[in-house]
Amino acid sequence: MYKYDSYDQEMVDTRVAEFRDQTRRRIEGHLTEDQFKPLRLMNGLYLQLHAYMLRVAIPYGTLNSAQMRVLGDIADKYDRGYGHFTTRQNIQYNWIKLDEAPDILADLTTVEMHAIQTSGNCIRNISSDQYAGAAADELVDPRPYAELLRQWSSFHPEFVTLPRKFKIAVIASDTDRAAMRLHDIGIQIVKNAAGELGARFYAGGGMGRTPMIAPMIRDFVPLDQLITYSEACLRVYNRYGRRDNKYKARIKILVHELGRDEYVRQVEEEFAHLLTQGIEPPIAELERIVPYFADPAYDRSAPDSVDRSDPDFALWLDRNCHAHKQPGYSIVTISLKPVGGIPGDASADQIRLMADLGRDYSFDELRVTHAQNIVLPHVRKADLYALWQKLEAAGLGTANLDQIGDIIACPGLDYCSLANARSIPLAQKISERFAAPEKQAAIGELKLKISGCINACGHHHAGHIGILGVDKKGVENYQLSLGGSEGADTSLGKITGPGFDEDGIVDAVEAATEVYLANKQGGERFLDTYRRIGMEPFKDAIYAKEPVNG
């Protein structure tokens, strides 16, 4: 993975000094809250429901064991002993004090980490595929391009006062594991007919109040024009994105209102101009970054077979271990979704344990997924059993990847001042209802996602089953949607009908799974059966029970 040079280190160190000074000026009264708020947001510091919340950046979801260990130590030293892994591959701490925030940022710089631009109206953490560098189906590792974009976007003077937040995802395979088309800009690294690498750009995707799938805006941008083209996209957005209405300020609204073709025309015009300005790093810069993401020193004689005699291990092996491009190796997902647990939360001890496991079993590398789990990308198959035993002992061995128990849930009204309803207790109830491994196995792949409000941080629009918390005259209520998907076949979920209370929605989810099981053909997943038979049979079953408390 990328290592800072002295310039990168100097930049994060300077940022800490800057924020320390800004914090002092706020506490002493030289800055009002309105003036300070954008500054602290651009250092990841929210004023949240219970206290300040700090969102630390984990660039494209990649970190090493030293970094993971510091994240655990921060939870103990400055917070209440745990952290929350988010749907954008970051980590959040919920009980931060303003006057300690600069010290936390200083601690982070010692392991090349930061909280730069993890909030605010600017370009946010650039996300990527959690299997990057390990998956057999990728063209190249997407992360060098994400790193180039990370540096370009950090402290960009023209783009730190955008109309709204801006989220970019970079992938390099046709299997989209990063929900790329639901981002403000999505980039897929591709090859053209001449065999050259380049970037295919999508713009105007997003969730929230008005979910949209990003249209493609350019089929191929040569790699030595990547920054210039990105800059053109952002400049058009900065100039013409709406600033009159916070709920219509994302680029998806601009692309929708202009129409894709007009947005493309404006970007191409700006792009042609910017090509004359010399803002593109030389290709030598990409060539400098790429080797940091070279393959680890695989043991090429590692055996490809695994002893499956332990049935619990076999279950976990089949569910949580994904094929690696290198024979003898496996991509392991550590589930942060134990039955009845809080999705994405990990204690400081668990975080430090995962750091050690990354060091010992995965060439000192870990990933955070946007499904709020942790990945060890390069584990020898011969080590899987020992690894699993250690995970099991720490409550990290749940075998439910991409099953109904692998719930994505935003923090909801328990933690978030934007929320209308709590999402975590609902996730816990659903998790418990479907706890039995046989039940989960029978249902198979089912991505269930819960958002506590329309901001959709739980990505419910992209859930095979999606749940949205709403405020119904001061009482929590939940809407159910079906048929969303975030992969290459991106689709947005459709609402079933009237909402439910907390118990009602758990029953409704179960009713939906029963319809699937009764109707599935061959190897269909829940999503496939839904797409084949449509909403009606689900609706009938869901609303056939006693009066809905919606």
Binding site: M11, A17, E18, L39, Q151, F155, P157, R243, I279, R288
Partner: protein, 142 residues
């Protein structure tokens, strides 16, 4: 008229009143113009040789359109005074300088020591803008 508090030019400031972009084209001897957030800075490109002062208004510091306007003008070769006016605060000064602003007329006076600290804090930058500062990638690759 709000006083210019910070100025990074050696020439004499022009005293002309800054007129609106709409009116500018018609007044063939005008040398100063004021850009509002909704104006298109490119409308001024035919007149760059006679422009001595461009004011860019920031009614709210959170409206960042003026940063693009400034860069567009500098990229087009504008060398006159480029002044940020309005809700101009300490913590945006450096980004404004990077976008090409060389004078500042904030509606509320700025603490000079804070301003100096903000402007001299960053030794390096990740991006190339028309301000001429070499980006880190340029320093890395000579």
């Amino acid at each position: 008229m709000v006083e210019t508090q910070l100025r990074f030019r050696s020439d004499e400031p022009v005293g002309d009143p800054a007129i609106t972009v709409d009116n500018f084209g018609e007044q063939t001897n005008a040398a100063a113009v004021r850009i509002e957030p909704g104006d298109d800075a490119r409308e001024l490109l035919p007149y760059l040789d006679r422009l001595k002062l461009v004011e860019v208004n920031f009614p709210a510091f959170t409206d960042g359109r003026g940063y693009s306007a400034a860069r567009i003008l500098r990229e087009a070769g504008y060398q006159g005074e480029l002044r940020a006016v309005g809700d101009v605060l300490i913590d945006q000064l450096f980004a404004m300088r990077r976008c090409g602003f060389d004078s500042f007329a904030p509606q509320a006076p700025l603490d000079p020591a804070d301003a100096e600290a903000a402007l001299s804090r960053w030794a390096d930058v990740y991006q190339a803008t028309a301000d001429g500062s070499p980006a880190i990638w340029a320093k890395r690759h000579g």
